[in-house]
Structure formats: structure tokens, C-alpha cells
Symmetry: C2
Subunit: 252 residues, 2 copies
Amino acid sequence: MESPAGRAPTPGALPYYVAFSQLLGLTVVAVTGAWLGVYRGGIAWESALQFNVHPLCMIIGLVFLQGDALLVYRVFRNEAKRTTKVLHGVLHVFAFVIALVGLVAVFDYHRKKGSADLYSLHSWCGILVFVLFLAQWLVGFSFFLFPGASFSLRSRYRPQHVFFGAAIFLLSVGTALLGLKEALLFQLGTKYSAFEPEGVLANVLGLLLVAFCAVVLYILTRADWKRPLQAEEQALSMDFKTLTEGDSPSSQ
Amino acid sequence: MESPAGRAPTPGALPYYVAFSQLLGLTVVAVTGAWLGVYRGGIAWESALQFNVHPLCMIIGLVFLQGDALLVYRVFRNEAKRTTKVLHGVLHVFAFVIALVGLVAVFDYHRKKGSADLYSLHSWCGILVFVLFLAQWLVGFSFFLFPGASFSLRSRYRPQHVFFGAAIFLLSVGTALLGLKEALLFQLGTKYSAFEPEGVLANVLGLLLVAFCAVVLYILTRADWKRPLQAEEQALSMDFKTLTEGDSPSSQ
């Protein structure tokens, strides 16, 4: 798994899996747009359509962009580690900002309509995702991008960061499925069981979400697809100062 | 990670995490029972209560027992590999049989009531879980328990088996969350948003399911908690006959 310094060859099947993940992710976004456009009247901020901003932003931010943010270490295998780290962090910022717009949309919609907030399992899971996402980003930033954390501290924290990153992504997809189900049952009610076209489309969207999540996790967890250690990384990771402190770095 | 032959020490924190996972799993089963008992009239086969057999069996079989089946390689670290494998396979059989009772219960209930089958995202995901679970068990049995598969074939298939095992468990928990949400929205309707006690209890049950799943996955994925290689395993795994064929085995 650890390769010698220099450009390591990309595993043969990896690009196909990454391409497939992107195809699935873009299909998820497109089908969400189609569902909202065809069956829910489209999207607008200043009307009852404001609600529809919520699912679209969440799918783009917390599913597609968050999934892609997790894949950068598999895709950019030979770029400087620091560049890849910055891209990883910046993609998460984009994901968070887009998700925040989606969050504001639903709270604003509820406020105007006089509906209750935060009563459903979907909303509880969603708030949990936001809190964990923000905490993970802040801790990740202070350990890996902010210069200061020692090399051995980074080595010890890295597996936790990777686990929680995958877990937050999984919980995001699960929360999206719960929200989709909620939107279907509120709108369709008993018509759902008559195989209404909207219900079937939304079920297909649900399976596409599951498939995107599965492919991203497969790419992430395959041991022989992990990013090989670059020659310059040891020095970069350590900010040239804690060279003697830690043990040898493991690949990200 | 790979330890020398003989009894390897159990990592210090592992027993506490395993105990916590069991506490969470049993709480999930108990809260499901309490929910069905207090708010849904309890359980019976020959009445309208037959539906309630479905969630209870699925939680016991596809969540609790399946989760525990994944943990046997972390818990039984020094037993013979073959014994642990058989336990892993048998726990999955128990999980499957209990889940099958839960599946028959809901189809039978729908048939008596004249309801449609298999229209919801929950049911589509559930069928997918059953198909994948059965395929994984059959392929796993023929590779790892049935004598015949070569050692190198086992080594190549093992990571796929581990990934799909975790993915099927995750999809099972996701499907349970979708079913819980469905049961809530069908029964409570708009009362859900008034923070009805049943809704709050079911939301708590949902979070407990997420927590159980997270702790099981954490134990499974922690690299330094993986099962160490036993002295006799190489011979056992290979059924004494393909010793010269493969490369060195990796720990399960």
C-alpha cells in the first residue's frame, strides 16, 4: 500500500469507479431537480416554493459535494498533500454553505406558514448532521491545516477523522432518505400505495442515493486504493519542525 | 496489527465499546417493544396486531443480531478461526430466520387487509437487503466455510465480503429508519408535529438505532482492533492443501 517516493501508478479500476460515482451523484442531483420541477412546481425563494430549496440544497451540499470532498484523496493521488487537504476543506465549506441555504429555506418556510419546527426524526437527524459536520470541520482544520498540531497528534487523530467523516456522510444520506419519505407521505398520502408516478420516481431517487453512498464508501474503504505516501509529505505534514517527535506517517 | 502466534492481548478499550454496543442494541430492542406495547396494542399473529410482528422481528434480526454477527471477529480474538467463522455464519442464519418471520408477517397482514405490497421506498430497500443478505451469506459460505476455495481466492474475496457485510448492515438500519418514519406518519399524521409522546419516543428510537449502528461500525473499522492472526489459522484456512498457492493471509 505504501509506495516509494515519486509518482505512484493509479490503480487500474479506480478511475472507472470514480467516474461511476460522479455519474450517480449527478443523476441524483438531476432526478431531485426533475422531481421538484415536474411534481412540486419548481423552485423560488419568495413563495410557497421556498420549501423546495431545502431538498435541492441538501442533496447538492450534504450528499454530492460532501461525497466528492471525501474522494479527493483517492482522485488526487500525486498532488502535494497540502493542496489536496485544502481542496478537501474547501469542498466541505461549499457543502456547508449550500446546506445552510437549504436549512434557512425550510425554517423560513415553516415560519411563514406557522408550522412547527424540529419535531420529526428527519429534523433531529439533520440537526445532528449539522452539529457533527461543523465540529468535524473545525477539529479537522485545527489539526491538519492550522500549523501547530504535532505530527504524532495528527497521526493519532487521522483515523478518527476518517471514521467520523464517513459516518457524517452516511448520516447525511440517511437523513435525506427520511426527508424524501416524509415529503412523499405528506404529499401523496394513500395515493403512494397506488404506484403514483411521483412515488415511483422518488423511490428510484432513494435507490440512487443509496447507490451513490455505496460507491463512495467502496472507493474510500478499499485498502489498496488509499493515497500513497508522497516524498515531500513527511516534511510538509510536520511543518518542518516536529520531525523527530512522531513515528512514521500512515497514508491518508 | 499482525501479532505473533499465541494469545494476543485484547486492546484495552475494546471491551468497553463492545459492552456499550450491546447496551445500545438491547435498548433498541426494548424501546421497540415498549413502543409497540404502549402505543400499538402489543403483538399477536392472528389479529390486526400481526403487523407489529414485522418491526420487532426486523429490529431483532436485521439490526441487533446482524450487528452482533459482524462483531464476532472482534470479540472472539483468540478462539480458533473456524469456530468464530461458524458462529458468524450461524448468527446470520438466526438473523435471517427471524427477519423472514417479520417479512411473512407484513405480507400476510397486507393480504388479509387487502393493502398493496412493495410500493414504498422502505419496502424496496427491504427487498434489496434480503436479496443482498442471502447472496452474501451463500457466497461467504462457499468461500469461507465450504472446503474448496483456494487460499488466494479467499484472500482476494475477503475485503469484498467485509465491505458488503457492513454495507448490508447499514442498509438494514437505514431501511428500519424509513419503516419507523412510515409507521409514524401513517398513524400520527399531523399530530406528529404536535410532539405527541409516541412521536418523541419513536424519534428517540431512531437516534438509538443510529447510535448502535455507529458504535458497531466504529468497532469494526478500527484498524488496531482487527483480529490478530492465530498460529493455527494458516493451516486451518487452507484446509491443509493449498499451502503453497497463495500469499500470506491478512487478518480478518
